[in-house]
Symmetry: C2
């Protein structure tokens, strides 16, 4: 099968799996143990943490390992809000954030926080002016994702960071789950105060993620107990997952510019190709991330296309994996106000390190065949 669903998840690199196994075999002790096996495991954990911190340009005391992007987003948002509530209870976010962000916001609303959910334009972009005018004295947190998982739109993160830091005391959290390894992600590059990443989006392991921050930030922990991870996330730290995360990050980092130029080529090719179909609407704007191309076919259901392509050996998705099992139209597609003709026929082609030139050519061939089959085009 030719896999074009890298935004849902990726296959772990062999080096990542090898690292994971090696650490489990040779450094299996509990990193909190006082004996030398524990100390050795802890040294390895610290090294992984330091590597992650360096790639993001922050201190090693400002990175904690979690069980993935969803937990990271929860801890970042919930933990920050609970910690800063003495200063205010106003939060700003957008209506195309990941469900882990939007559902955490609902939890906070039930706790008495006030959440402004800003709209996006047709391209899925949030307006910097909207954010500026929404900032208040009691705004404690702004959470905006870097690259949207369903459309690929890239938010103006640096401009947002500037206005937030200039006009308020709010912290700026950026969900960079879909961007790391494809675009520069670091504190200087984005201007964020808090970043969240997920390992399995860049050929790391599922069940691995981080929260990282710069400056004076703290979180009220959710998962409490033995006080691991600087007291911010309890539970025996899975050292092998942490080291595998760092390994995947380094590989993604090293391959970034190489892969990026391939994505540019493939994206350009696929866009020109898609434009030839009169019933196909390209939803990802020209300025969107090069590894995500979302299109819609008029008067068709996304599921029908996914299945037809699958029969020809091509794997794409309808929208995000998180919402793909729900039959309703995704909140992101709703947010960009797509006409009824197109709102159900959405498919996402998401590129990754496993793709090849040949696969792109084959995709086009098979997509044409499917369109002929279902639309007579």
């Amino acid at each position: 099968m030719d896999y074009f669903d890298h935004s849902a998840t990726t296959k772990p690199h062999k080096e990542v799996l090898d690292t994971f196994v090696k650490v489990n075999q040779e450094f299996y002790a509990n990193p909190a143990s006082l004996h030398e096996l524990g100390v050795d495991a802890n040294t390895l954990l610290s090294r992984a943490r330091k590597q992650v911190a360096e790639m993001l340009t922050t201190d090693e005391q400002k990175v904690i390992f979690t069980s993935g992007g969803t937990e990271s987003n929860h801890l970042a948002i919930h933990g920050l809000a609970k910690n800063l509530q003495g200063r205010g209870k106003h939060i700003i976010t957008s209506n195309i954030e990941h469900p882990s962000v939007l559902e955490t916001m609902k939890q906070l609303e039930r706790l008495g926080f006030e959440v402004d959910i800003l709209p996006v334009n047709k391209k899925g972009l949030i307006s910097v002016d909207d954010v500026t005018s929404s900032l208040r004295k009691d705004t404690i947190l702004v959470s905006i994702m870097h690259i949207n998982n369903e459309l690929g739109c890239i938010q103006p993160i640096q401009d947002l960071a500037n206005t937030i830091h200039l006009n308020s005391r709010a912290m700026f959290h950026v969900d960079a789950v879909q961007s790391f390894g494809k675009y520069p992600v670091s504190f200087p590059a984005l201007g964020a105060d808090v970043l969240t990443l997920s390992g399995h989006k860049f050929n790391g392991l599922k069940g691995t993620g981080i929260v990282a921050w710069k400056g004076n930030v703290s979180f009220e922990p959710t998962i409490v107990g033995g006080g691991q991870e600087f007291g911010l996330r309890s539970g025996t730290v899975p050292v092998a997952q942490a080291v595998a995360f760092s390994k995947a990050m380094r590989l993604a980092f090293e391959n970034q510019s190489n892969m990026h130029s391939k994505y540019v080529q493939w994206n350009t090719k696929l866009r020109s190709f898609m434009k030839e179909f009169k019933d196909v609407l390209i939803l990802s704007s020209e300025e969107a991330a090069v590894h995500i191309l979302t299109v819609s076919v008029r008067h068709l259901k996304g599921e029908v296309l996914v299945n037809a392509l699958q029969e020809k050996g091509i794997i794409v998705s309808t929208s995000s994996a998180c919402s793909s099992k729900q039959t309703k139209i995704s909140h992101v597609i709703e947010a960009i106000g797509l006409s009824d003709d197109y709102s159900k026929g959405v498919i996402r082609i998401s590129l990754g390190t496993s793709n090849t030139d040949q696969q792109i050519d084959n995709f086009m061939k098979q997509f044409s065949a499917v369109m002929k089959q279902v639309k007579g085009e």
Copy 2:
């Protein structure tokens, strides 16, 4: 090194690592994806869930995968309490529970719940009568661990279940992290309503755990988002971890009686040996779990013993890994009211599948040498 710190963590079995790698290579898709790779991953996940459910004797819709014992305890206790608060806000637990339980109780107290923390006797045992007389109309939850991680004492779980279910409407949560694979753990065997397990305590992977329940139980989720795990624990489910967890459980289950008779032999041998030292007090009672033997040496610091033994190739711990980095006396040791002479000299010898007859003999030899060295005994 001869490793006697299996209650802190264990080395994953080769079969568990092999399973993990294989699933990552062959079933890497997101189990929430609609396409066939997603469906295949989801089928594998369901199978793992079913196997876990069968070993515990419950339905497969009543098992969810988490990132470990600490998260499991948090979700079980916090999630149940939040869900049942309409019925009452009174909770019962003991003073020798794991920090993940006791710290979650503190979170709940801050939310207005009333928590009765019952004492234990010199053997570390909770009194069934104490629990019975503490039960109230508004008691919604009792949380008592099966086997204590620092002492090995086995609580009278079935008797507790009987009195709880006879005299109240409360749910009974049992933290079975230290017992699975060593003693029978299932809903019929224990009578609990909710069970929590951690994979790395029985040669599974760190970062893996479950919450399982029987009957009509539900939880308010903490980590929210895409609604995975029946809406109770969001985040892309790491299928390979789930399958590895089930694999580790089956191996532990199959080897249980075999290993148990070895632990009985080794424990008996070590107890007779320890009794010969006039300055050694055996803290684990005769009825305690056979895989945990905790002793204290008079007028000595546990750290000194741990280091001296380590120099002779023997790995033991002072108390639990969670509290081993704190210099204060552990809450469990405090709870059994040890005299000052002995309260600082605690070491825990915890047995596991990696131990051999030869290692037990070597342990005794080296322990004698260390005692001669430090105490002149």
